[in-house]
């Protein structure tokens, strides 16, 4: 019986459509016969549908078909497939994809944005090309100097490496200790080392004449042990280029860069390099560094020599003494009577051995320090101090343009980074918004 069903609201539409199963249909009819409430609703629904079905169709305005035909013929060619600019909501066929996709496609097809995008692209290209041409043109723009040194970033501000520009007020430290020393430099160094070593044994001689050494000159013919340090302060138009040129100078003379750093602080740029070059080339290197770049100016130049002859000789003598002592101790150890005595001898042997090694390390350090002089170079940007070098209006305009372009570039990079950082959140927000829109649209436009 239908009593168990309760009211039959949920079946009424299907009952009306005649899509219920036979048994269900009969059950609904029985309930309707017994329940005035449901009967009234069923009658109302049937009346509504009946009213809809019997709605008299309105006549379209007279001449409708003719008007359509006129408009079609006004479209021009009678090809059925002619693109109609206003048409956007026409489904290709069934089933059409997601409504969002079709709407997007319709928006894209609506046009108007096409020419704008093309114009923008042309404009961007023109600006870019102008920047390339202006910054690439040879001339005083690149304040300074390639100076014949094959530098990848010779001279142009636009060419300054991106890491250089990005470093902003930070600092860039290039540590190229001996490990990073190019092979050619290493060979040259060891070559020089061999040459020095050739007279080193002779340097262990009575230290008398070493006391008189006071001159700061090239390789000491008397075999004095001198550790020499050159200092050079320069103002250069282009710190970056001079920095690389200095590296090249050191390498050319068989030296290497022990330590280097470039600081950029606003418009000011500074570089400090510690070069190691064979001692006998120190003066040549200093001279070449002085002529590093066309606009370079040497502000200070000095060479210090530290005479370590006496310490060196002392150390050698002590090592020899210790070695003799070591030999005696070994002999003792081989003849030691009991274990305790042996242990004491061994302990002494260890101490002597340690001292020898320490002294030998010191000697090796001196050897290298004497063989390779140190050159400390301090480069400071002269060109950057006066940001408005004299020039024609054209030059200044060009520089200003290139500078603006560079700033725009870094702004663009920053924007890209920002967008990348926001993208995950934006995707989430977009997803939520899309779902919400879809839901709303579905409710409003279904």
């Amino acid at each position: 019986m239908t009593g168990g069903l309760g009211h039959v609201d949920r079946w009424l539409n299907d009952w009306l459509d005649g899509t219920l199963s036979e048994a269900r249909h009969r059950a609904v009819e029985r309930h309707l016969a017994a329940c005035p409430r449901c009967r009234a609703r069923a009658d109302g629904l049937r009346g509504t549908v009946q009213g809809l079905r019997t709605l008299a169709p309105a006549e379209p305005p007279p001449g409708f078909a003719a008007r359509v035909r006129q408009r079609i013929e006004a479209l021009g060619a009678g090809t059925g497939a002619a693109g109609h600019p206003e048409a956007e909501a026409v489904p290709a066929s069934f089933p059409v994809g997601l409504p969002v996709v079709t709407r997007l496609a319709a928006w894209l097809r609506r046009g108007g944005w096409g020419p704008a995008v093309a114009a923008a692209a042309v404009l961007v290209f023109l600006v870019w090309a102008a920047g390339q041409w202006l910054s690439g043109a040879p001339g005083p723009m690149g304040v300074g100097g390639s100076g014949g040194v094959p530098l990848p970033v010779a001279g142009s501000e636009a060419g300054a490496g991106p890491e250089q520009r990005a470093s902003g007020a930070g600092e860039q430290v290039v540590d190229s200790m001996a490990a990073a020393n190019p092979a050619s430099g290493a060979e040259a160094t060891s070559g020089a080392g061999l040459a020095s070593d050739a007279d080193r044994p002779g340097s262990v001689r009575p230290p008398g004449d070493a006391e008189t050494a006071s001159q700061v000159q090239a390789q000491d013919p008397a075999g004095r042990m001198l550790i020499r340090t050159g200092r050079l302060e320069m103002s250069v138009p282009d710190v970056e280029a001079a920095y690389r040129a200095a590296e090249a100078v050191a390498r050319r003379h068989g030296g290497f860069v022990q330590n280097a750093r470039v600081d950029r602080n606003g418009p000011m740029q500074e570089a400090r390099l510690t070069l190691r070059v064979p001692d006998d080339r120190l003066e040549t290197v200093m001279d070449e560094l002085g002529e590093l770049a066309p606009g370079a100016r040497v502000d200070a130049r000095s060479i210090d020599a530290q005479d370590i002859s006496r310490e060196y000789v002392d150390a050698r003598a002590r090592v020899e003494n210790l070695r003799a002592q070591e030999a005696r101790l070994r002999e003792l150890a081989s003849r030691a009577g009991d274990v305790e005595e042996l242990l004491r001898v061994e302990q002494e042997l260890w101490r002597v051995r340690g001292e020898i090694e320490q002294l030998e390390g010191q000697i090796r350090f001196w050897d290298q320090a004497v063989r390779l002089a140190t050159v400390e170079v301090f480069l400071k940007g002269a060109g950057t101090v006066s940001p408005e070098p004299p020039g024609t209006v054209w030059e200044r305009a060009r520089q200003a343009f290139v500078r603006s372009l560079l700033r725009l570039g870094s702004l663009g990079q920053g924007t890209v980074v920002l967008v990348a950082a926001l993208l995950p959140y934006a995707a989430l927000v977009g997803l939520g918004g899309g779902v919400w829109l879809w839901w709303r649209r579905r409710g409003a436009a279904g």
Binding site: R39, G47, Q50, T54, A58, E59, F64, R71, V90, P95
Partner: protein
């Protein structure tokens, strides 16, 4: 009587038989650029399309413009009609989309549909069984305008579904295809729309069904 689909009047002049074949021929010729054939299609469908637009958009003047737009779109996109659906379904889909565009453009609720020029309602002539039912007799004579007005107040998704199903006599599958939704969705929209309409008409005093019992089953 489980199946009562058959007795419904067909607004579209689409009797079974050789007509679909002729329609296919017309579509094919129109697609090839034959304006005559397309005009024949327009004449065949102008009444249902115009009425659909009128029922969805609301105002006769707008409905005429929208209906013209529908046929223009159909003409310019005939090449895209692949024939894997009935032409009428496709045409209705274009019409529904165009009407939605129009409504979106105006972005306001359409005014309730004005009574059509041929305002007389086709009385109780549709022999849908039970011709002696006084409620339906009253409805048939007087409720046409009220039904139109209530349709205008129906929310759009339900209005489109109900109009397609009950006024234009599409099957649920066709309604689903036209609306671009699943068949179940189409069905539930039709059912919900009918119930909403019934409640509106009952609230206006045109129908029983909101509690007070009627006498006849």
């Amino acid at each position: 009587m489980p199946h009562r689909e058959g007795g419904r009047p067909q607004p579209a002049p689409d009797p079974a038989g050789h007509e679909p074949a002729r329609e296919e021929v017309l579509v094919e010729r129109a697609r090839a650029g034959d304006v005559e054939a397309f005009t024949a299609l327009v004449e065949r469908y102008e009444v249902p399309v115009y009425n659909l637009c009128l029922q969805l958009v609301g105002q006769p003047a707008d409905a005429a413009d929208v209906a013209q737009e529908v046929f223009l779109r159909v003409y310019t996109h005939l090449a895209r009609f692949r024939g894997d659906a009935r032409f009428r379904t496709w045409l209705y889909r274009v019409a529904v989309n165009t009407c939605r565009d129009e409504l979106r453009r105006r972005s306001r609720r359409p005014a309730p549909a004005a009574a059509p020029p041929s305002g007389r309602h086709r009385g109780g002539d549709a022999g849908d069984g039970g011709s002696g039912d006084p409620v339906r007799a009253v409805l048939a004579r007087e409720a046409g305008a009220e039904v139109q007005a209530a349709l205008g107040r129906l929310p759009e998704p339900f209005r489109a579904a109900v109009v397609l199903r009950d006024v234009h006599g599409l099957s649920y599958q066709e309604v689903a295809a036209v609306l671009g939704v699943a068949t179940g969705t189409a069905k539930s929209r039709v059912h919900r729309g009918r119930v909403l309409l019934r409640d509106m008409l009952a609230a206006a005093g045109w129908l029983p069904g909101r509690g007070e019992g009627g006498e006849t089953p």
